[in-house]
Each structure stands twice: as C-alpha cells, then as structure tokens.
C-alpha cells in the first residue's frame, strides 16, 4: 500500500544528449492502477525502470509514501516487478523462483513455505511447483512471474508489458486474471503497455506518453472522449480517429467549411475559436460517430457529407468503410453496421454526429477545448 509521487522526472542517457524521458509528473494514489501507454520508444519503460531503481534518475524525484527514493537501491524500495520476458530463474523450480526474494529478506522458512504455497494455489500453479520454467507453457510462466511479485506483498507492483508474449486468447484471460488479482490485493500498480485495449480495460487512469513526455492523463473514457491532442486522438481507438483538414469561417456563430460544405458547430465558445477564423483547422471524428443514415444520429441535427466508398471491410460484427471526400483528396474511415449494402465505387451521403466532433490547432496539434463538453454523457 503506497502512494507513488513522481515529480519532474527526466532521463538522459550518458548525462547528455536527447531526453529519453522529460519532465514526467504523476501521482499514483494508494491502491490505484495506472497504465503508462505509448508507442515503443516513448520512454514508458524507462519511467518504470526508474521507479524500480534499475535506472539512475537524471532529474526530478520519485517518492514512495512521502519518502524520496532517488538514492535508495532497488532492493530497499519494496517494489516488485513483472518483466515482459518474465525473467524466471531457469535453474530454479517454480517453488524456488517464488521463494527466492523472500529468502533474501530473512523471512522464516515456515512462513516462506506457507506464502509460496498460498500464492501458487491462488494462481493455479500448485501442481507445477517442482517444475522448472522450461517445462511450463507461456501462460504458466507468466503466472509464476506474477506470483513472484505477489508473494513478496510489496508496496508497489510494476508491470512491463507482461502480456505481450502471450497469444491472443491467453492474453484476454490473463488480463482478466490480472485485473481480478489487483482488485483483490488493492496494491498500488503501475503498468506499462503499448496495447490500447489493455490500457482501456485495466487502468483506473491511463497516462499517455509520446517522445519521452507525458501527453495526457485521465480515466480511460475521459481520455478517449476528450483527447488532449492529435497524437492521443490517433493513438487511442482502432481504427483511429479521422483527422480532416477544414477551415473555420466564423467564430461568432461557429461554422467551419469541410470539402465545400458548411458545418455549424455546437458547444464551442466564440472566444476559443476566435484565433482560428479564416484559418485551417483540424476536425476530428471517430469512425463510430459516422453513420450510414441520418436517423441513426442520436442527438441534434446530423451533418451530412458527400463521400465515395473506396473500400469495404466486412468484419462480421461490423463493417469498416474507407471513404474519400468527393471534393478534396481526404480519406476517412467509418464504422457502420454489419448489414450495409454499400460497396466500393458507390457514392453516398454520410451523417456525422455534431456532438462528437473534435477540433485541433493545426500548428500545435492541441485540442481546442469545448467548455460544455461532457465526455461521460455519451454511451459507448
């Protein structure tokens, strides 16, 4: 049980040159599950390794329960980590892998035995306890790695992409298992992944990183519905959010022009939009906020857009349409029902949910905030 407070954390390899991590500030509450999400090389694993004490800190501080641990060696931080490769000791049995950390900490032999067996039973490893890692399946190894962290009952759990070596089916079941264990133990957890599904389903909050910096932090749906910039907008969601070049024609009665069609916007204040009048602007809309027919749009009058169908991906449960604007050369993807009759080559008029539009500053990529927007109001 612990609060992890990270303040202005930075990492420069070799003490100079580019920052691998720059100015990350984040407080993880007691028992909270925070996911660090980002593309490979964004610095998320480096942050985790700095928290673990495996990597020296270039600047900033990390505090656990109010005690700054910058200079505290890994072994004295009372943190357990699950590695992507599992990092099981190949020359030890499952039992010894689980007991290894406890032995070093001077736990009595009888208590070690009791704790190891309890954790092994909890994770369904009871009958494999005398096996070595090479005689276990991928999923079993993963559970041993998890057990090794749990058995120590540390203040903080760190996970470094623990599911990425598992096949798809096993990944889903292990993910649920992990969520269950974390809820049961209520241990503060920091979890690194590049998989947005893991991030959305597991975290109390997700923290999105890009190029060493923290871009946005918030509850999964909050981040999904109100991305802070175009990077987050494209990174979360599959297929990603459509980003279209448009032009703001009026701020007083907010209107923009997309592909020759005027759109009135709802929710944005004139003052927020004023700097962008007669300027290009980026319009973002998620594939699921595009509809085949206007009646499907739940709220407000729909906006209609002339498009040509370029490709159709029938996925069974749903259909993805790759659409081209009829005027300008811009593409967008729409997620529609499985019963669509649209085929490549057809032209149609697609409906947009005006309440689900996002605007971004083309210069900085930052979202232009809509004060009245309530991200949780919509169901998804």
């Amino acid at each position: 049980m612990a609060v992890v407070a990270i303040d202005g954390l930075s990492k420069q390899y070799g003490g100079a040159g580019d920052f691998a991590v720059r100015d990350v500030t984040l407080t993880v509450a007691d028992g909270e599950f925070v996911v660090l999400l980002g593309p490979s090389g964004c610095g998320k694993s480096t942050v985790l390794r700095m928290i673990a004490g495996l990597e020296p800190i270039s600047a900033g501080s990390i505090a656990i329960d109010g005690r700054v641990v910058n200079q505290v060696p890994a072994k004295d931080r009372d943190i357990a980590m699950v590695f992507q490769s599992y990092a099981l000791y190949p020359h030890m049995t499952v039992y010894n892998n689980l007991a290894f950390g406890l032995r070093r900490r001077g736990v009595a032999r009888a208590e070690i035995d009791q704790r190891v067996r309890r954790v092994a039973d909890m994770l369904g490893l009871g009958s494999y306890i005398e096996r070595r890692p090479h005689a276990l399946s991928g999923g079993q190894r993963q559970r041993v790695a998890l057990g090794r962290a749990i058995v120590r009952a540390p203040k903080v759990f760190l996970f470094d992409e623990p599911l990425s070596n598992l096949d798809a089916a096993l990944r889903v079941s292990t993910r649920n298992e992990l969520i269950r264990q974390q809820h049961a133990l209520a241990t503060t957890t920091i979890y690194v992944t590049h998989d947005q599904v893991e991030a959305m389903t597991m975290g109390d909050r997700i923290c999105i990183m890009n190029q060493g910096r923290m871009v946005q932090i918030g509850a999964p749906l909050e981040v999904y519905h109100a991305p802070a910039d175009t990077f987050v907008a494209r990174f979360l969601g599959n297929p990603p959010m459509n980003l279209l070049r448009a032009r703001l024609t009026s701020a007083a009665e907010p209107t923009l022009e997309l592909d020759g069609t005027p759109f009135t916007l709802t929710g944005w204040s004139a003052s927020a939009l004023a700097p962008f009048v007669d300027q290009p602007i980026i319009l973002g809309i998620r594939p699921e906020d595009l509809y085949e027919t206007p009646d499907e749009v739940a709220e407000g009058p729909p906006r209609l857009l002339d498009v040509a169908v370029e490709a159709v991906e029938l996925l069974g449960a749903e259909t993805l349409l790759l659409l081209g604007l009829t005027g300008e050369r811009q593409e967008l993807i729409a997620r529609v029902g499985r019963r669509t009759d649209l085929r490549p080559g057809a032209t149609t008029r697609i409906a947009l949910d005006a309440g689900a539009l996002h605007l971004f500053d083309p210069a900085t990529g930052k979202a232009i905030s809509r004060p009245g927007a309530e991200p949780h109001k919509r169901e998804s």
Partner: protein, 276 residues
Amino acid sequence: MGLWLTYLRRTPLLIFLLGYTVLTGGPFVWVASMSLRTTAEIFADPYALPTRPHWGKFAEAWMGSNYSTYFRNSTIVVASAVALVTVIGAMTAHCLARYQFRTRRLLRFVILAGLVLPPQMLILSLFQIMLDYHLYDTLPGLALVYVATQLAMTVYLLEGFFAQIPQDLFDAARMDGYSDFEIFWRITLPIGVPAIFTTVVLNFVTLWNEFLYAVVLMTDDDERTLPLGIMHFMGSHQLDVGMLATGLMIAIIPIVLIYALFSETMIRGMSAGAIR
C-alpha cells in the same frame, strides 16, 4: 531404392570419419599395446599386439621412476591452476558482460591480447620475473603462470556465454534484493555451468599436457610435472620404448577419463545459447 541412395550419399562422410578415426585412434591403440609389452618384444615386432600383457610395468613405472611424484606434481599444479583460473575468469567475464564502466573496452582488449601473444615471446621475461619473486622452480609459481596463460581463453569463452543471459534475470534478482556478488554467485554461475565446464575441461587438458613453460621454469626432479617426467624417461633410460609407452599411458588416463565423463556437457557448453 531410396534407402540405397541415402547410404550412397553418406558413403563419403563415412569414409572420411573412418580415416579420421584411424588417424587419431591408431597411435593411441599402438601406444596402449606397447605399454603392456617389454622393450625387447617391441623391437622384435613393433606392431604386434601384446601376447602376454605385462601389467606389472605400470607398477614399475609408478614406483621405480619417480612417476608418482610427477603425477602428484601435475595434479597439484593443474588442479589449483584450473580452480583459480575458473574463479578469476568467471568473475572477470561476468563483469565484462554485465557492467558498463569507463575502462571496460580497454580492459577487455588487454585481457584478450593474451590470446594472440605466443608463449615463446614471453618466456624470457617470465623467467626473470619468477626468479625475482622466488617462484622459480616451485609448484605455486608454475600454477600462477598457468593461470595467467589460460585466463584470456577462459574469459573469452565465458564472456560470450554470460552475455547471452538476459539482463532481465539480473534486474529481477536485484528487485528480489540480491547484491551484485550474490547475483554472480546465485544467477550467473548456476546458469553458466555448461560454459564453465567447457573451460574447466579445456584448461585441464591444455595444462596437463603443457611442456614449454614447465621445461623452462622447473629444473628440480622432485618438482617436475608429467610431460617433463616422460622426457626424463627418454634420457635416463636410453630410450626404453616399452617403459616410455607405459608412462605415456599413465599420463593420458586422466584426460581420457575427463573426456569420457564430461564430453557431453562440454559440447553443450561450446554450442551455447542454452538459455530459454
């Protein structure tokens, strides 16, 4: 038909292996058979098999010709040198494979340079050093020289193997609370056993047969190692071929035993990458 073709394809390989076996095994069998025959019998017919094996020759060589002393000296020097070079080599290899420090590349270069320097080049200066430190003509002195000569090869082999052990294992052990030395002791060493075995066997065989350093640095008959003892046989007994063969067999037996017992482990170590 297909089976015949398979055999036909294998024929050249079989011929090659057969030739190789005869070439390497032949002299060994010859010496083995001579070791059980008297010199007179050998001169009468050099290639004949022993009709009435003289097992007593082994006891004679052992007792009568100081062989027990040579054997004891070799065992002391080689065993202590191998033990020492394994410990030092493994620690060095672990550090070179695992830690980034300023002089790492230089250090590795200096150590591995030992692989390319011919012993003949070093032997004069080594002779002088041994004299200066009163190590000349002593068993510990020779053992130390052996440690120095085998260190480069040992570090080279072990570093290659240790570097393949995933870094995550060491990080995990650090998180589990272990110190750097404990990690070496409890992670690197047990996982590196096949590679360590390989270096132990290679070093043992090389040093057991070592002649050049021994002949320069050892003169007292009571301090001689086996290879010197065998040479001694040639001089003092006016080429007693029969006894020479018996002496050779005594010297060879430990090596044959080591190969027989550990060749599997050694091959596993040499074709490393055994970590899963």
